[in-house]
């Protein structure tokens, strides 16, 4: 009897996990789709559309234009590459896929999306407040990704997982920044640049906090069982 209750409890927990997992994949796919729509605004490469229309004080700079389009075109791939990396199923059954996609993720961030993000952060809207946030974000992004890659090569899988959670938390700031902005504007109706300065920080620090909490909870759980 008691065993049955425990069993059904365990069933419920796994059901909840299942639902959470599905919700996660549905929302990440949905927001990736939105990001894709945003990316498509810049194909073909033009400087008189969307965000770039109000960046015409820097779109004259060749290195800014190169950085911008590099960032826009590679970041969407980085985002999508990351989606399957956290699936235990993929890692168990298709390790090669995990490795290939992971290498793509790392190379794109370290050589393209990260450095270009740093350049864009330097010219970012919202003054030094937002610029600091964006530059810090780009540097930490590359740093976490690099550490995650190194630890995978050296076979330290727990460290690999932790660094990569941090890395992907920052990758997801592309989405969370825009979500925060939407929330802040709808609930507080702030002036656009004031809101922008806030989300420049909130967009990635919140994600990183969640990642750290997850990492902390695993470490705690593991230590308890040992």
């Amino acid at each position: 009897m008691r065993k049955n209750i425990m069993m059904s409890l365990a069933d419920n927990v796994s059901l909840l996990r299942q639902i959470l997992r599905i919700a996660w994949y549905v929302s990440i796919l949905f927001f990736s789709y939105l990001m894709l729509l945003i990316t498509l605004q810049y194909i073909p490469a033009r400087t008189d559309v969307a965000f770039l229309r109000v960046k015409d004080n820097v779109t004259g700079l060749l290195h800014y234009r190169i950085a911008f389009f590099t960032h826009v075109y590679t970041s969407i791939i980085v985002l999508v590459c990351g989606i399957i990396q956290f699936s235990g199923y993929v890692r168990r059954r298709f390790l090669t896929v995990h490795r290939l996609s992971g290498r793509g993720y790392v190379i794109l961030i370290l050589l393209f999306a990260g450095p270009s993000g740093l350049i864009m952060g330097f010219y970012g809207n919202g003054g030094w407040v937002a610029q600091t946030a964006f530059c810090l974000l780009a540097i930490l992004w590359m740093f976490f990704t690099y550490r995650g890659f190194k630890s995978a090569l050296s076979g330290d899988l727990p460290a690999h997982r932790n660094w990569m959670y941090r890395s992907y938390a920052l990758t997801l700031s592309a989405i969370s920044l825009r979500l925060w902005k939407w929330v802040i504007i709808h609930f507080f109706g702030l002036h656009p640049m004031d809101a922008y300065q806030i989300v420049a920080w909130l967009g990635w620090t919140g994600n990183l906090l969640v990642a750290e909490l997850l990492i902390y909870s695993w470490t705690y759980r593991r230590n308890k069982f040992i």
Binding site: V26, Y33, L37, F51, R53, H186, H191, P192, M193
Partner: protein, 308 residues
């Protein structure tokens, strides 16, 4: 059967498609009021700076006031205020009993011709618009001697929503003054505002969320100071919109857009005298307009949506 299995997935995809488009693109195309390009040959006139009318030559000039619907045509459910527009009736030439002039109201510049009778205590005018515009009609007004008033009525030729109007205008000289400041009441576009019901101590009140001006609109004057990019970047769209249109208003531009008309009509100094003011804009104003336009478009499309 196999198809059935994919159906929910397809529905979901379709849903995202619609949803995603909505979240990213939120275009409003009607709010940019562009100056209408229309060639109008102004009639040369002798400027008379007398405000109080005694003689025939004192009649020449601009007369400003509200062009109000005749009460007989006002429906109970309609607010009279939104149907009243500021009008400028200009008397340009008088030759004996012959009169030439024009009126500017609601973005319409219409010439008229007719006659004037010099009676003992007043001048009596009967003038008519050409009739090739849907909203043309006939003006009958009097200008009493010893005063600065023009009082009368107007009847349309065709059957339109408001076929009769009344007016009581004052003589005033139009002069472009870049120093003109907006008075302290907000511009609110109720259609574009997203109204939120808010609870204050149990009492419900409606608060419009977005499309209204803030104090920014009075802090800056786009006709006298060069606006800084960082300042404009942090402005809300209604402020940007009104700052830009107030440049046109100072030049006496007659708006077609109803909300702008209502807003600027309430500015004491505002006089609609022209529908083509592009050539009168100063270099500073042109510079500000192009900056404001850029951010106005941006604010409209991206201020309250996900992404850019």
């Amino acid at each position: 059967m196999k198809l059935l299995r994919y159906l929910p997935l397809m529905l979901l995809a379709a849903c995202f498609q619609a949803c995603g488009d909505g979240m990213i693109k939120n275009k409003q195309t009607d709010s940019v009021e562009n100056t209408v390009q229309q060639v109008v040959q102004p009639v040369e006139r002798k400027v008379n700076h007398v405000l109080q009318v005694e003689y025939t030559e004192d009649l020449i000039g601009d007369w400003v006031g509200m062009f109000e619907p005749d009460t007989a045509y006002m429906k109970a459910d309609e607010e009279g205020g939104s149907l009243s527009h500021k009008i400028t009736i200009s008397i340009d030439q008088i030759n004996g009993t012959e009169v030439k002039g024009h009126s500017v109201v609601a973005g319409n510049y219409r010439p008229f011709t007719g006659t004037v009778e010099d009676e003992e205590k007043k001048f009596v005018f009967t003038v008519a618009e050409p009739g090739d515009d849907q909203f043309d009609g006939k003006f009958d007004f009097t200008i009493p001697k010893g005063d600065s008033l023009l009082i009368g009525g107007w009847k349309s030729y065709k059957e339109i929503k408001i076929p009769a109007r009344n007016y009581k205008l004052n003589k005033r000289f139009f002069k472009y003054d870049p120093q003109r400041r907006l008075e302290d009441f907000p511009y609110v576009n109720w259609k574009k505002s997203k109204q939120q019901e808010q609870d204050y101590d149990g009492e419900k009140s409606m608060e419009e969320a977005f499309y209204s001006t803030t104090e920014d609109v009075r802090k800056y004057n786009a006709s006298t100071q060069e606006l800084k990019r960082e300042k404009v970047a942090n402005m809300k769209k209604a402020d940007i919109y009104i700052l830009r249109n107030s440049i046109f208003a100072r030049h006496g531009f007659s708006f077609k857009n109803k909300d702008l008309m209502t807003y600027f009509d309430m500015q004491e100094w505002y006089m609609p005298v022209s529908i083509n003011i592009e050539k009168n804009l100063t270099a500073l104003e042109k510079k500000n307009i192009s900056l404001l336009m850029k951010y106005e478009k941006h604010a409209e499309e991206y201020y309250d949506v996900f992404g850019r």
